[in-house]
Symmetry: C2
Subunit: 288 residues, 2 copies
């Protein structure tokens, strides 16, 4: 079995060629207006189509049953990606999923054996993906796992890209951390710099990173009594703060958690980095 997993982003498209166990080869091409051509080129560079058993594709937009809704930074929007690519490639076994959900699926299958998992991606925004019994929770209109838009904050009311205020993204993303730090120091620093400062014991940075972790713990608490996953997987750029961040989140989670038996809730750091979406695209086919 050979599968190509394709992770389409606004800037680049990642291609991974897998056999039934491992990544054999990968490739990254810039995203252009003629996205279909980019995809054909990437596939052809890695393998003849005739040797593939399936192609998994992720897109940076909500999806439902292979249909993608509006994408902000892509030439494609509101289309059935599976139908489009099947016709263009003359190839049937294609599956399509939102990128954050695919990243969750990648980490879920790669990281161990779990009955369920919630992945929380802390980057420029906050993404998420919910996996139950190996299945992605896409939701009725593709908004399953869009946890960055939980109305989490009513104290700072920073503005969110989605037009609302107070979304998880405004306080729990890398941008959120910068927002919070600026609020208490009047200074603008990058997320990494703030964590580095906190690790040296800087008072404001310590306060802000605790506050930041408390917001993440808060929406993990919500998820623990809604989805009740076996494990939370913390990924995205901010997760490079590593065990320091993970310990803060766990500490705060135990403090606010409603049920004693959830005090042992498992949390782990993501392992696949920027390849998670590509792996997820692969597992879409592999575990079909």
């Amino acid at each position: 079995m050979r599968v190509i997993g394709i992770d389409i982003g606004g800037t680049s498209v990642k291609f991974g060629l897998f056999d039934d166990k491992t990544l054999l080869d990968k490739l990254e091409l810039p995203t252009t207006k003629d996205l279909t051509e980019v995809i054909k080129k990437g596939i052809n560079t890695l393998s003849p189509l005739s040797e593939l058993s399936g192609i998994g594709v992720t897109v940076p937009a909500p999806t439902k049953d292979n249909y993608m809704f509006h994408a902000a930074n892509l030439p494609w929007s509101n289309m059935n990606v599976k139908e489009h690519l099947s016709k263009e490639l003359g190839f049937d076994n294609i599956e399509v999923l939102n990128d954050a959900n695919a990243a969750a699926l990648g980490e879920y299958h790669f990281g161990g054996v779990f009955d369920s998992a919630v992945m929380v991606t802390l980057g420029t925004g906050v993404g998420g993906g919910i996996i139950v019994d190996g299945k992605v929770l896409e939701g009725h209109g593709g908004f399953g796992g869009e946890i960055g838009h939980i109305q989490l904050d009513d104290k700072y009311n920073f503005e969110c890209g989605c037009t609302a205020t107070g979304c998880a993204e405004t306080v729990a993303s890398a941008t959120g951390l910068k927002n919070l730090y600026k609020n208490y120091s009047q200074k603008e620093l990058e997320a990494k710099e703030i964590f580095d400062l906190a690790k040296t014991g800087d008072e404001v940075a310590v306060k802000v990173t605790h506050l930041y972790a408390a917001y993440i713990a808060k929406f993990c608490q919500f998820l623990s009594v809604i989805v009740n996953p076996e494990i939370f997987i913390i990924g995205g750029g901010v997760s490079k703060a590593g065990e320091y961040l993970l310990d803060l989140i766990k500490e705060e989670f135990v403090r606010i958690n409603a049920f004693k038996s959830l005090d042992n809730q498992e949390f782990k750091l993501a392992e696949l980095g920027n390849d998670a979406g590509m792996y997820g695209a692969y597992y879409l086919i592999k575990n079909k």
Copy 2:
């Protein structure tokens, strides 16, 4: 096909005899210390065991794969209810589920055709149940859909029965409504009285019912970007306030909602009342 659905509560046990379409007969017996005997008696009154194809059972405790965890008001706790009853009755086809999840399953199948639903039960506490593609989201440790314990409030900090403060239950249940009204009027009224007052235009009651609906809308917003259900079903004693309450919830939901396409989120009132759990127990077998 004949099925008995049994809804076990702390005060009474409800039994419903169903064929493959409708409720034929029902019965309610008081809950006693010898719960197994109560169940045998109820079943025998409605039908000979030999004529049954299955028995569905709900319990007032978190469940996972027919195992029930701790129950506060029941002689049974921490046991595999399916195994116990199979042995006691000499009958195999038994399925067991948490009562709030079962109520959700009952309303989901009874109320129409939906791909997914979240039921919100507003009673003495706040219960919930999440159904996706006909399957109940039980969660890793049975806490799926325990939405009454979302940490919703950090303003009033009323105490919750679970030992935490600020749970949804403390502001969004009938008790929560009474808490809020007392906070603004120093008077103690029942939930129904507060809604009746609000409908006459009483200033404090109007303010408090709006605030109350805003809390419900807030956790529905969380659920809309986590589970993204096709429909929210609002049940429990407080839902007798009817369209008045539903309109307030919808209005507030649209105000805080992050995604334009969720402005048309469907909400409906529950239809089965106190029989919802019994129906859910039935559907556990029927749609197995």
